[in-house]
Symmetry: C2
Subunit: 409 residues, 2 copies
């Protein structure tokens, strides 16, 4: 059971490095609990076994190379031979599997994972990424503005398409389905795609801007792929998948189909395991995995608004999905949840211009309705790009003024 601690371990270039927050249970020492974690997440189990051989431990044993008793943090290096290339569920079943349920730990949180090139390159990574998406949209350097059709559920197909049209006409670049709209009776999938894309064409013609519709294709994998193909055949460039409720196998399948579709990743349900700061898996880890598999856009939080997520964490996630990492393209960070025009300057100050700003209620809740809401959203971005304070800019733009009056700034 013991022998995994090696504080002088020299990191191999093919190692996966995992950082954990760890609170041992039942009076165990941090060292001892670390040994249990390292064993269960690799080659060991709760008792010595007769089938273990020195060759196996020699080649495959992970090393606990850092133990920080003040922070209750440990770092473990896993030889890459433990893992199957190109198989994300397998990697997680190792380094994020049984260990969360062990009696020897009271709390355990996977804080970070650092992958070697061999593993990263065994996945496809984002097909498009920020630069290609900007080319599709023909928007060089401002934040993109998106909306989610609201109400989340209940609009019939015609109304859905009309709300999308109003959003584009007001100035939205992207219009997406909500995370729980897929193929319900009140708004069936196929019909929705066709009718909404008709409205997109009209909005493009009338505005002269490229407009994007992002349909939610989340379903059983086979059905999801069929939906993606249908979307593509009908001239749409994007799909959205709920990455957590669909799961890693399905996200990989979607990416590996190479359908020439930008993949927008919604993270609904993530906070069931990312939110508690002492237990579970960090959003940073989920974001890194999503990039490696190959989503192009990912919800990362807002640091402002209705959803939880402290500023530093959101910045860390943004950095992780955009900074250099072997040949991976940068993922477009999506800020969504409780946003409205008044929050745009702060958001851009914190996260920069390479973000997608999504407002749902913050557009469709505008006193003047969806189109005015979209106008206000776009105006808030224009103000920021021109470095003019919102309140000053709002003097000339009534929609923005109304938004600021309703939700503040």
């Amino acid at each position: 059971m013991q022998g995994y601690i090696d504080l002088n371990y020299k990191l191999g270039e093919d190692d996966i490095i995992a950082s954990f927050y760890l609170e041992p249970a039942g009076g165990l020492s941090l060292e001892r609990a670390s040994e249990y974690i390292a064993a269960e997440s690799s080659i060991g189990t709760w008792t010595d076994i007769k089938t273990m051989k020195p060759e196996i431990t020699g080649k495959l044993k992970p090393s606990i190379f850092e133990i920080d008793k003040e922070k209750n943090e440990i770092k473990i290096a896993y030889p890459s031979k433990l893992f199957e290339l190109g198989n994300m569920p397998q990697i997680l079943s190792s380094v994020a599997g049984n260990i969360f349920g062990m009696r020897s730990v009271k709390n355990l949180r996977l804080l970070d994972l650092i992958f070697p090139g061999s593993i990263v390159k065994s996945f496809k990574g984002p097909r498009f990424g920020i630069n290609e998406i900007r080319k599709i949209l023909k928007v060089r350097d401002r934040p993109l503005v998106g909306t989610i059709i609201k109400p989340k559920l209940g609009l019939n197909t015609e109304d859905h398409a009309r709300v999308a049209y109003d959003s584009w006409m007001g100035g939205c670049d992207l219009v997406k389905d909500d995370e729980n709209l897929t193929n319900q009776d009140f708004n069936p999938f196929g019909d929705r795609i066709i009718k909404t894309l008709e409205m997109r064409d009209r909005a493009e013609e009338e505005t002269g801007e490229k407009k994007i519709y992002i349909p939610n294709i989340t379903a059983e994998t086979g059905e999801m792929i069929r939906r993606a193909e249908f979307v593509r055949e009908n001239g749409c460039e994007y799909v959205m998948i709920d990455i957590v409720t669909a799961g890693f196998s399905a996200v990989q399948s979607l990416r590996e189909e190479d359908l020439d579709l930008v993949i927008h990743a919604h993270r609904a349900m993530h906070a069931a395991f990312t939110r508690n700061k002492k237990h579970g898996i960090s959003m940073l880890v989920l974001a890194k995995l999503s990039r490696i598999i190959g989503v192009d856009q990912l919800h990362i939080g807002t640091a402002v608004g209705k959803m939880e997520g402290p500023k530093e964490e959101v910045i860390g996630i943004k950095n992780a999905i955009t900074q250099e990492c072997f040949d991976l393209k940068p993922v477009f960070p999506v800020c969504s949840g409780g946003l409205h025009p008044g929050l745009v300057p702060e958001l851009v100050e914190i996260l920069g211009r390479d973000i997608i700003i999504q407002m749902g209620g913050g557009i469709h809740g505008h006193p003047g309705g969806t189109r005015d809401g979209a106008l206000a959203a776009r105006e808030s971005i224009n103000a920021v790009m021109q470095e003019i304070p919102l309140e000053e800019y709002a003097k000339d733009y009534e929609e923005l003024r109304e938004a600021l009056e309703k939700w503040g700034k």
Copy 2:
């Protein structure tokens, strides 16, 4: 935003009922926080929107019909029209989606979900279930005994097959791969299936008993299905999938392929969101979803041994996956994690005979090695079936005696 509470609501026979533990944040009342939860998990958002219509709220609005201030528990009924039939990710993106990350809640746990027949019947459910599995094994009423090849990783293919053989020869009914063994260089998938099944044939011939090998096919969905087909073509009746790390879309895909394979569900990573009693999703919910989708065997915990999970919870899960529920077949409960022969009587007393008792370390850690370990495991079950105390039975069975000496009883 308000108007979801209706304590006199009369439950519709097509409603999905969700029970939550809820701690509001920032001084919000339980009622107010409940409203936010009900809104975000159905048709609402953080602000009033202009696109909402009375017809929509009339048809689709959920009802908070129970608020227990002492327990901080609420119950919400969702009209089934909110959901897509046969789409588990969509259901979760609604009732277990964004809500865990909302700022208006401090802690939120989905305790239970009760599904109407319309939803349950839109999934396939278990193809085999307990009775069909017992027919395949030709074991009428004793608990089945299984093992996991150990070490988890590192054995080469020949050694893997030999350890499986020894396990079967000692008395195991089922032998399975561990959750993180899929297709690594040291033990490639295809070769492993072929060599291990050769040993299974030999063990069947020599013991006259039906023997089962359960290969782990967890991977990207397409690859997973190819592996399942390969397994079937080579004369194996079972596959195993890591349901949480693979995800719900993939589990559904596997079941919907109708491959005539018994599906063994491993739950690695579940404790990242099931363990905290105040936040996340209960194992009970995960178990119910797995049954509805259609796994045949599911890890439910042990109530004894290395993994966390209190006795009452494990019993509740066992009941949920075996009791009558529309036409769903009962799932075979699998007890695994830190088990050894000395724990068998207590386990059977708590959970009954319709369980699969899996011992990994508790077999391969036996002082006499794998075969003696498997003998001891089977002897412990024989003792229980004959209602003889283990220590008495062990007088005539050396392997059992050695196991009890090593691990206690």
